[in-house]
Amino acid sequence: MGNAGGPPVDEFALGGQVLGSRLVLGTGGATSHASLAAAIRASGTALVTVALRRLDPTAPSLLDAIDGVRILPNTAGCHTAVEAVKLAHLAREAFGTTWVKLEVIGDEDTLLPDAVELLTAAATLVDDGFTVLPYTTDDPVLSRRLADVGCAAVMPLGSPIGSGMGIRNPHNIELIRDAVTVPVIVDAGIGTASDAALAMELGCDAVLVASAVTRAEHPVTMAAAMRHAVTAGRLAYLAGRIPRRAYATASSPVHGLPTW
């Protein structure tokens, strides 16, 4: 889609690579590898997350289902920096990638990140040569600290993982956008297409969506909706929206109105 002579609207640079889509797809919650593969195609994504768990020899290979897109391993399930760093190193061995979606969870009910452990793990993994994409609270100060230790992006939540509550504090997402120069990827809480569009309208570089697609009634259709929403939101951001006003501004001319 056009962008007035600029780079293609869906392209963005992350970790020194150019990705062809601003939609990152999480694979958690997928009911089958076949439906996941179809959702990946419909989403147009170039980057999908996976988790690392004990090998079940009777399960079909997930990697076969996600062939052709870049893999972003996560550290989901880790509660300390030590655990997350270890899992990231295992993921590097498994997938041959230095990219990692860093998650360090501090609370089981909300799955909110543990800021202290997250920053510690991020600094360690950057030193170890990883391209670190941290899942973080929507805190502009923590986001800046994560960028300062060398993270390749920051990934603030819109609302808790899997909640589908959308972006609860759009102002903070804007503050994060202004606080860092690395890409900002809204990572959690997206429930439907309008949430993803809002993230992009706020100036984010990309959106990560998992449950909203994989747990939708029709995942492939929702994947297509997200694809369009991310493109539409980016275009709207680039277009520059009109300011909000308290009162109406006539769109038809007042001059030349007949008198009776």
């Binding site: 996976v50 988790a51 090998l55 290979s61 997930l62 391993p73 270890k86």
Partner: protein, 80 residues
């Protein structure tokens, strides 16, 4: 020797290496013959830790295991 592999007790011949335990885990697959025939290609996306230490893929054929070792054999699952 007795090992703990992915949380379960498992007995392997003395002198077993990391590669042997990976093959042992993977040979439980629905088509174990196919796994053996294709070998390393089937271990794409697999990572191993022994007693909590990451074992690089290049060390799998040579690193010997010892009685009582705890081994984690991991791979990709949907998540994130």
């Amino acid at each position: 020797m007795r090992l703990t592999v992915n949380g379960e007790c498992r007995t392997l011949d003395d002198g077993a290496r990391v590669a042997d335990v990976v093959l042992a885990v993977m040979s439980q697959a629905a088509q174990p013959v196919a796994v053996r025939a294709t070998g390393a290609a089937q271990t794409r996306g697999v990572a191993v830790a022994v007693n909590g230490d990451v074992v690089p893929r290049s060390a799998w054929p040579d690193l010997p295991l010892r009685d009582g070792d705890t081994i984690e054999v991991l791979t990709a699952v949907p998540g994130g």
